[in-house]
């Protein structure tokens, strides 16, 4: 148990040491938004007849009538009180928007990553077992195709095929069919909430909505995962301990899965962590195509209309998530390879 305790202490220390970085991100985003051309007040005062007075009104409402250092102080004190400001675009507090939208993005990203891992690891292993064979080339071709088709193209193609032509998928509009009533919110993950509420039909409806966007995101990240699995497996299969294991006559299964794969999995975990963080921010195209109410499309809309508060809130959220994901990856290292400890 002391091992676990020590891990927790180290994890806590790491979290603390990432605080300066988060603060830096905070200030940097704040300044960056103010340096970008485009005056949010003018943009939002765009109703017919909105004149100088309305622009001033909005500027005051957003606190833009004060000097930049003053604004920064107000902003930091707001953050200290857990207030991320209010979005002009949705008219809601940013914290509320993010809290509602983050589970949607996380659910999608987790599912996509899961699909990608389930597909990529076996593909990589198969390719590594017979390097240079037609199977290896087949995997390489599949990966190349996945990477070179942008996610929104694969998304639109999937919609065209499975929704428009075949009618198998539900309409690609968000997390749940508009006619289905929502379960009481517990985790924010619809697939979990439906199960907790014991509504199997609803659960299936939510899963059906999730499949297409998750697959189009997964297609894009299968390639890096499969390639790294293959490379790492090749090294591991050619190493002394595998040769020894083979020579003492262990079963194929034991050799490949227990010895070779476990030793090869470290770099895959690293890449999976990085892939996860990028996916969360970069799935904006999938979110747009499938009308998925996630954080990335929210941030993009905010950026286009120079709505400062949501963009700043989004960047802060992403930075915090990145810190967390790195921590989780490090802890996973320890589980996969007891020799590694996080420090």
């Amino acid at each position: 148990m002391t091992g676990l305790g020590a891990t927790m202490v180290r994890a806590g220390r790491r979290l603390l040491s990432s605080l300066p970085a988060l603060f830096g991100v905070l200030v940097f985003t704040f300044l960056l938004m103010r340096v970008l051309p485009g005056d949010p007040a003018v943009f939002f005062a765009s109703g017919p007849n909105a004149g100088k007075e309305e622009i001033e009104q909005i500027r005051k409402q957003m606190g833009l009538d004060k000097s930049v250092p003053e604004q920064l102080v107000f902003y930091l004190s707001d953050i200290g009180h857990g207030n991320l400001g209010r979005s002009m675009m949705t008219g809601q507090p940013v914290l509320k928007d993010l809290r509602e939208r983050l589970p949607a993005s996380l659910e999608l990203t987790f599912t996509a990553l899961l699909i990608a891992l389930i597909a990529a690891v076996p593909l990589g292993v198969v390719a590594a077992l017979k390097p240079g064979s037609p199977v290896d080339h087949g995997v390489r071709l599949f990966c190349a195709l996945g990477v070179c088709v942008p996610t929104f193209v694969s998304g639109l193609l999937l919609i065209y095929a499975f929704y428009y032509l075949l009618g198998l998928a539900p309409d690609p509009t968000g997390r749940i069919d508009v006619f289905t009533s929502l379960p009481p919110q517990r985790t924010g993950f619809l697939s979990v909430d439906f199960l907790l509420a014991g509504d199997v039909e609803g659960w299936w409806a939510a899963c059906k909505q999730l499949i297409l966007p998750a697959v189009s995101m997964a297609l894009f990240v299968i390639a890096p995962l499969a390639r790294i699995t293959r490379a790492s497996m090749l090294v591991s299969l050619g190493s002394d301990f595998v040769r020894t294991a083979r020579s003492v006559g262990l079963s194929w299964r034991k050799v490949v899965i227990t010895y070779a794969l476990r030793n090869a999995i470290l770099p895959v975990i690293t890449i999976a962590g990085i892939v996860f963080s990028t996916m969360l921010g970069a799935n904006v195209l999938v979110e747009k195509v499938f009308s998925w109410p996630g954080v990335a499309s929210y941030a993009l809309d905010a950026l286009l209309s120079s709505d400062y508060a949501p963009v700043q809130g989004f960047v802060l959220l992403m930075a915090s998530l990145f810190v967390l994901v790195n921590l989780v990856v490090d802890i996973c290292y320890g589980i996969a390879d007891p020799r590694v400890s996080i420090g």
């Binding site: 949705t90 508009v178 286009l304 209309s305």
Partner: protein, 539 residues
């Protein structure tokens, strides 16, 4: 032991069965009585008066709130459009305009109730109109255009009568009361939520409704969807009847191709913001109903900054006007879906009528363009930038390339500049763009209104920054001109000045392409360019 382990499974099965039985027929029945409207935009506030509110918010408020009066509708080339000249009572049972045009008297319906059951009284009307002209909200600037500026102008005569006094007989006062902003709010309910800092309850009304309208908010998720259910007591449309649809779902679907798929598959009933290319293919398939109405209260133009060289020279502006490739632009940007504002013939060289927007006698004539450039002292041409915003890229991008190509033929080198929407509006406001395309719209499209708002003064909506005292004087005078013939004459003069000064080049009025399931009927093109959910029904 056995019994205990058996129970949860039985419960689950029973619940599932119950759900199936309960849900299946109810859903099948409500689908026909539900309107599912999909849009690329979203509703961001329940009070359209809040600065920054979107057009979808305007449309929603038409259904959740009533106004004193409403626009009628008329048939224009076989399509229903709103009628500016026919104003009917909504909460007002009847209204009178005094002979001198200075007093408007409204008598309220006796049966009108707010959604919480309390009756609509003249006090509520007064509070709502007072709010519109005093609170720091969007209604203020709008009502100003109808000479409604102060709370003193609204007087309660008795609980069901209210009187509006005008300083001048302003033709636009009555139509202004039918626009989005002067909605009638349940003042008792709103006052309960007012604070010392916010006496007009703007914060509360942003998230809640307190109206008497045809629909009640069921769920409101900003940026995602709004679901409203019918107010059974509402009878302002046809006597004794509520609105047709029991429920309306307003859902944001950002991807236009997905919106097209949804409506084609029959999962959505109505959409008005598809891409022109999608509309064309859907129309060709013939399965859906497509109602295309030129947005006759809007105009897309190419504007030049009249204060900035070389566009301060009228001959340069004329040269550009004759060098634009109108037909190609119209086809490439809109697939010809709209009403062109070029290619007219003015046989006597004078405007055909006094209506704005007018169709100008412009066509591509490069020789003429070169002559004008020579007259401007720039026979070799010059370099400039042509800007448009990202939001309009689907139409403006092909257009910009054609402008660049065509102007290159007369020696003008154009750099295309694509700006994020907020940047574009900032630069327009600061008058920094030399040459760009934009679109404008007026809720109350009268000639003087357009000229006063878009061609006078050093203000944001004067896109071309034109400063022509004669034009400003005529437009101002026309505002209060009671004589129709004289008004028409003023309009002709204004159009003639516009054509000779060429501050900006009118291009076209794009179509509003409403694509709907073939069972949907009653769609009307409204002044706010969105769907009024009260108009539509199902066969």
């Amino acid at each position: 032991m056995r019994l205990v382990s058996f129970r949860p499974a039985a419960c689950l099965a029973a619940t599932a069965a119950l759900l199936l039985v309960a849900n299946a027929p109810a859903q099948a029945q409500t689908r026909a009585e539900t309107l599912r409207y999909v849009t690329g935009a979203s509703v961001n506030t329940l009070d359209p008066n809040i600065p920054g509110s979107t057009r979808e918010s305007f449309a929603l408020s038409m259904s959740t709130y009533d106004r004193l009066v409403a626009f009628g509708r008329k048939e224009l080339n076989g399509k229903w459009v709103f009628d500016l000249d026919k104003i009917t009572g909504e909460l007002a049972e009847s209204y009178d305009v005094s002979p001198d045009g200075l007093k408007l008297t409204f008598r309220l319906r006796k049966d009108a109730k707010f959604q919480d059951g309390s009756p609509v009284t003249a006090d509520d009307v007064k509070w709502s109109l007072d709010r519109c002209v005093t609170a720091p909200i969007l209604g203020k600037a709008q009502l100003l255009t109808g000479s409604l500026t102060s709370a003193d102008q609204f007087k309660v005569i008795d609980p069901l009568t209210i009187e509006v006094t005008l300083p001048k007989p302003d033709k636009l006062a009555l139509p202004n009361l039918a626009t989005v902003y002067p909605m009638i709010i349940n003042s008792k309910l709103a006052k309960e939520h007012a604070t010392a800092d916010d006496p007009w309850a703007t914060a509360w009304l942003k998230e809640h409704t307190a109206g008497s309208g045809a629909y009640v908010i069921e769920t409101f998720k900003p940026g995602e969807q709004v679901i409203v259910k019918r107010n059974e007591d509402w009878n302002r449309g046809s006597p004794g009847k509520p609105a047709f649809f029991k429920r309306v779902i307003i859902q944001s679907v950002p991807e236009p191709a997905t919106r097209a798929n949804l409506v084609e598959r029959g999962d959505a009933d109505l959409v008005v913001d598809l891409q022109a290319s999608d509309v064309q293919s859907l129309e060709a398939k013939g399965k859906l109903k497509v109602i295309s109405t030129p947005q006759y209260n809007s105009i897309t133009f190419v504007s030049m900054n009249n204060q900035m060289p070389p566009f301060d020279n009228v001959n340069v502006r004329r040269a550009i006007a004759f060098a634009l490739p109108y037909d190609d632009m119209f086809k490439a940007a809109l697939f010809g879906r709209g009403a062109p504002l070029f290619g007219a013939s003015w046989p006597d060289g004078k405007p055909a009528n006094g209506i704005y927007p007018f169709q100008a006698p412009l066509k591509t004539d490069l020789d003429k363009a070169r002559e004008y450039l020579k007259a401007a002292g720039l026979p070799e041409g010059f370099s400039t930038t042509f800007s448009f915003n990202v939001g309009q890229a689907s139409t403006a991008e092909p257009m910009a390339s054609l402008v660049k190509e065509s102007l290159a033929k007369i020696g003008i080198k154009v750099d295309i500049q694509k700006l994020p929407d907020a940047q574009m509006s900032t630069q327009i406001n600061e008058k920094k763009l030399p040459f760009f395309t934009e679109g404008i719209v007026a809720w109350l499209p009268s000639t003087d209104y357009f000229y006063r708002n878009f061609y006078t003064g050093n203000q944001r909506w004067n896109y071309s920054s034109i400063n022509n005292p004669e034009l400003a004087a005529i437009a101002q005078e026309a505002r209060f001109e009671p004589d129709k013939a004289k008004y028409e004459e003023d309009g002709r003069k204004l159009n003639a000045i516009h054509f000779s000064e060429m501050p900006q080049i009118p291009l076209w009025q794009p179509n509003q392409d409403a694509v709907m399931a073939s069972s949907i009927e009653g769609y009307t093109y409204e002044f706010h360019r969105q769907v009024d959910y009260r108009d539509v029904g199902r066969k």
